[in-house]
């Protein structure tokens, strides 16, 4: 598995400049064939631009990349023949029916009319869209569009599928359906590269994750490695009286032995903890010193926390900077 020929994607120093902005600023990647690779980052980090280059939709301004062994510039057609991209915005034709969309794509991929109809039928069936097959796509719900979109990407099953934020804006049920589709594709041997803003999604699906910020990869590893680097979780505390915040900060940082952050909410504090053990003691000490707590949570690190650790900025700040 470790030989270079097993790499589905190998990129060195990819750069894309839009006017003044370096949207992608020297991305290196090595993605093994098989499984799901996650691309984690906030809006404007350069995720979409990177995968559009890898899918040959954009020429890079500098750097090189090989996708499934083919150079993305010199061998773009060979790459196109083996990969598929499901964009962030629905890339099916809203003014046609679901069935017509798939038949059209199957025709454009070289199927006969009969073959195209058969393939469209089985895809609609597998994606739970048979009932909606004859309806115009513009009447579809967000989840149905997403599923049709992915179906359209696998009319000929690609060896590598790029999914750009496949679940952004979907309700939990639709999101689970998309995850099931991704797992089924991977089980049948397709490599999936997906971009996401959700650590949770990367955790659920991805074998490895690259965190991307301001056009650069700032961290790479398995989701657990990534989370370990941020600590096991974060304690969030909300006080009844914002006046007590400085006192609470002092008590907590002593009890936990880690720095405590003051949130933008004047009554809230947070601290990254590597071990849940001292948390109970710290909370008890807080109440003993007369600070009333209305709410506390000890949760998995969020994308924001991963970002804060890796870049010193929150994901939101990062978005504002790059746009």
């Amino acid at each position: 598995m470790d030989s270079p020929s097993e790499l589905a994607i190998e990129a060195r120093g990819l750069v894309k400049v839009f006017g003044e902005a370096r949207a992608v600023d020297g991305v290196d990647l090595a993605v093994r064939a098989g499984g799901v690779y996650g691309f984690l980052g906030p809006n404007g980090a350069g995720k979409t631009t990177t995968i559009r280059m890898l899918a040959t939709l954009l020429p890079p301004d500098a750097g090189t990349a090989r996708v499934l062994g083919h150079d993305i510039v010199r061998d773009a057609d060979a790459v196109r023949g083996r990969v598929s991209l499901t964009g962030q915005y629905v890339s099916v034709d809203e003014q046609l029916t679901g069935s017509e969309n798939l038949v059209m794509l199957a025709r454009l991929l070289g199927h006969s009319w009969a073959g195209a109809k058969a393939r469209a039928g089985e895809l609609l069936d597998s994606f739970g869209l048979t009932e909606a097959a004859g309806r115009l796509v513009k009447t579809y719900s967000g989840g149905m569009r997403r599923r049709l979109d992915i179906a359209a990407s696998i009319v000929v099953t690609p060896d590598l599928l790029f999914l750009d934020e496949p679940t952004t804006g979907l309700d939990p049920r639709s999101r689970n359906q998309v995850w099931d589709i991704v797992r089924a594709l991977v089980a049948e041997g397709t490599t999936v590269l997906l971009t996401t803003q959700y650590l949770d999604e990367a955790d659920q699906l991805a074998d490895r994750v690259a965190v991307i910020d301001r056009g650069r990869v700032v961290a790479e590893g398995t989701p657990s490695e990534l989370k370990a680097s941020v600590g096991s979780g974060t304690l969030h505390v909300r006080l009844r009286d914002p006046q007590h915040r400085l006192k609470a900060e002092r008590v907590l940082s002593q009890a936990l032995g880690v720095p405590v952050h003051l949130e933008s909410d004047p009554a809230a504090l947070s601290a990254r903890v590597s071990d849940p053990e001292p948390v109970a003691r710290a909370l008890a000490r807080l109440s003993r010193s007369g600070v009333a707590v209305t709410h506390f949570t000890l949760g998995q690190p969020s994308l924001d926390e991963v970002f804060l650790t890796l870049t010193g900025r929150t994901a939101e700040d990062s978005t504002k900077d790059t746009t």
Binding site: L57, D77, Q95, G110, M144
Partner: protein, 280 residues
């Protein structure tokens, strides 16, 4: 969502299998097959939104009746005689006005995400535009047939007979197809469908009114006559009129075909260039 609401997502219940394993890629479609698929797409859109046919039905009716009866009396002192002169021109103008929508439609179309998918397919790239234009040709055909039918109803007598009219139509469609590449260029250069429509209308207005559609250019000032002499639409109208009345010369037709070749030679590569670099 669909009306079936099982507790588990229906996707997971199906055995994963051959649907996700269809790796065999059929042979790449020919340029013709890909173009025809895109033409099919254009026709499906007409089928789903038949209201868009309103333009191509209203324009020929209004143009033919208004120009014949409003201008006929004043310009030629008799609507009947003027109709013989005017109708081939009105048919031409009708079809050319309809071509204009090609640009604004394309402009709205490429903004759709589906164009990313088309661009990433290993197909003959101009097929997307050629197909759209072939689909449009159906609209041109409807508009021109309607205009001629109305003309015949109100007294048009084509001296060239059925063959002459059909040849004139064919020439007109070839020209419309060629001119469409100008609109596709505009459609990809300009930002919004509205601006495409405005620019196209201005261009078309100049091309059709500074021509011999309505009046004999000999009644115009010299500078305007000079403009008409180099206007490709004027050459087209001369040839269409000639073919319908059976008096066209080979040279007149050759001029039109030359204009067509020039339009395609200039604007098809420009369109393709813009198309390739769209959204980069």
């Amino acid at each position: 969502m669909s009306t079936t609401a099982p507790a588990q997502p229906e996707v997971a219940e199906r055995p994963p299998g051959s649907v996700f394993r269809a790796r065999a890629r059929p042979p790449r479609p020919t340029a013709l097959s890909a173009s025809l698929t895109f033409a099919w797409r254009a026709l499906l859109k007409i089928k789903h939104v038949p209201q868009q046919l309103f333009d191509i039905i209203a324009v020929p009716i209004v143009f033919t009746l208004v120009f014949t009866y409003m201008l006929g009396g004043a310009l030629a002192r008799s609507t009947g005689e003027y109709l013989q002169f005017l109708l081939p021109g009105v048919v031409t103008q009708t079809v050319l006005s309809v071509t204009m929508y090609t640009g604004s439609t394309l402009n709205g179309d490429v903004a759709q995400g589906v164009f990313d998918r088309f661009r990433s397919l290993p197909i003959w790239r101009p097929a997307i535009l050629v197909g759209a234009l072939l689909g449009d040709a159906v609209r041109y055909l409807i508009a021109s047939t309607l205009a001629i039918a109305i003309g015949l109803l109100i007294g048009f007598h084509p001296g060239g007979g059925l063959a002459g009219v059909l040849l004139a139509l064919l020439l007109l469609l070839v020209f419309a197809f060629s001119l469409s590449w100008l609109w596709t260029t505009l459609g990809l250069v300009l930002r919004t469908p509205q601006s495409v429509t405005q620019v196209s209308m201005t261009v078309l207005f100049l091309l059709t009114f500074a021509s011999n559609i309505f009046v004999d250019p000999r009644t115009m000032p010299t500078w305007l006559q000079a403009a008409v002499a180099v206007n490709p639409v004027a050459h087209l109208v001369t040839a269409v009129r000639g073919l319908m009345h059976g008096t066209a010369t080979l040279a007149q037709i050759a001029w039109v075909l030359l204009c067509c070749a020039a339009l395609v030679a200039v604007f098809a590569p420009l369109t393709m260039h813009r198309y390739r670099h769209q959204r980069e």
